[in-house]
Symmetry: none
Subunit: 227 residues, 2 copies
DNA sequence: CTTCAACCACCAATATTCTCATAATCGTTT
DNA sequence: AAACGATTATGAGAATATTGGTGGTTGAAG
């Protein structure tokens, strides 16, 4: 994890730097706002930690400029300014969190992780999970209620598609495009057959069905019982 | 914005509820953890605010269960437990923020906005909406006043057409072209029949009608009662 | 040679779409 | 205001489309 710290107090900055590095983070330090801005705009970070009262431009101003440059990296304001007004200002400038000094390093790190979890999470999760159905894209294993299920390649691909877009309705053309790479419309019911065998393996023995038919449209994977 | 508040202290919960509602938020309240869980798992919120020390299951446990159910809604822990250990526990349970009582409502709301700003980015589901009627083209779900409505393929297509051109009058030939792909004029009243069944599902139980007839022309979807 | 995944063709069950006959409504003219 | 014709609404059932499921064929891998 790469982190930018903009802070002029050498004690605090080294305290933070050392702490973060002990958790395998790469830390860039800036001791004033102007230098901080150069870092912030030129490199990509996972999180930025900004003090407010620093030489050059203030942390608030810096945060604003970062957002004006369309950089969405999570920002934590870390400052001794503890009034509600200052906190509101911080959030208005586009900060994601505001932590008042003195602070516990553990709390700072927990907040960093929380922010980071959120920005990563949406993208890659090795295990897709809906209810008690799990698909591990690393080991390619599928389980329902901890019972392992053996899927063929095509079944797996279809399930992965539906599972990673839970709630989204796929029509047959779309499924064909995603699985076979081209759109052949109809003349065949391959998809129906594969869906059928998927259902046998995944839904048959469970009262809570996961694969639903949207008649006239296609199929969805959803935890809600079909309407 | 729809918010769940799980809090047993009536003073705090009404304080929060009134505050949020003055900012146009819809607030659901739960006074203990078990009821809170039911709400959290059955409805969709933009943010959930959890106290820790509540009857039934604790806020920490509740947060864990929410995450185990793959619900990514931002969670703020709001509690008087102010030790670093408790904070760490909160974040470990999957919370996004942790605010200690006593707190300023303004700060709480700023944190809600900050979380919401970020979680909105990832989640864009194009929803057509007129008044309390919503059509989600990804999940193909249609709701009126949060009540889910089941439409057939043709009904859905017609509604989508009207909804995405709210206020525009479509004559039958135009509707036929858009839905069936070619213009067959008259000799049939299929469209009337489908409009009729659409109305039964969408307008029948509501005093505010949305589908209107322009005699001699065709149909419009509009929120204004027609002249 | 055997096995198994992938695909295809078909049937029965079910849901949807459409036709048609009739009732209700609207606009216009008397 | 009443009456008329044109237009639209509606219910029922017939016609059609969609889908779940089964069994069989192909072709590739071991």
């Amino acid at each position: 994890m790469r982190i930018l710290v903009v802070e002029d107090d050498p004690k605090i900055s080294s305290f933070v730097k050392i702490g973060l590095e002990s958790y395998d983070c790469t830390v860039d330090m800036a001791y004033d706002g102007t230098i901080g801005e150069k870092f912030a705009l030129s490199r990509k970070y996972d999180v930025m930690i900004l003090d407010v009262v620093i030489p050059g431009i203030s942390g608030f101003e810096l945060c604003k400029r970062i957002r004006n440059n369309n950089i969405l990296t999570p920002v934590i304001i870390l400052t001794s300014l503890d009034s509600v007004e200052d906190k509101l200002t911080g959030f208005e400038c586009g900060a994601d969190d505001y932590l008042v000094k003195p602070f516990s390093f553990q709390e700072l790190f927990a907040r960093i992780k929380a922010l980071n979890r959120r920005s990563k999470e949406a993208f890659v999760s090795p295990v897709l999970k809906v209810l008690d159905l799990e698909l591990d894209s690393i080991t390619r294993k599928v389980r329902r209620s901890d019972r392992e299920i053996n899927l063929t390649a095509t079944e797996y691909k279809i399930l992965e598609l539906l599972l990673s877009n839970k709630g989204r309705v796929f029509d047959r053309i779309l499924i064909a495009e995603k699985i076979w790479g081209f759109s052949f419309n109809s003349g065949t019911n391959v998809i129906d057959v594969h869906i059928n065998s998927l259902r046998k393996k995944i839904d048959k023995d469970f009262s809570q069905k996961l694969i639903h038919t949207k008649k006239g449209f296609g199929y969805v994977l959803s935890e809600e019982p079909q309407t």
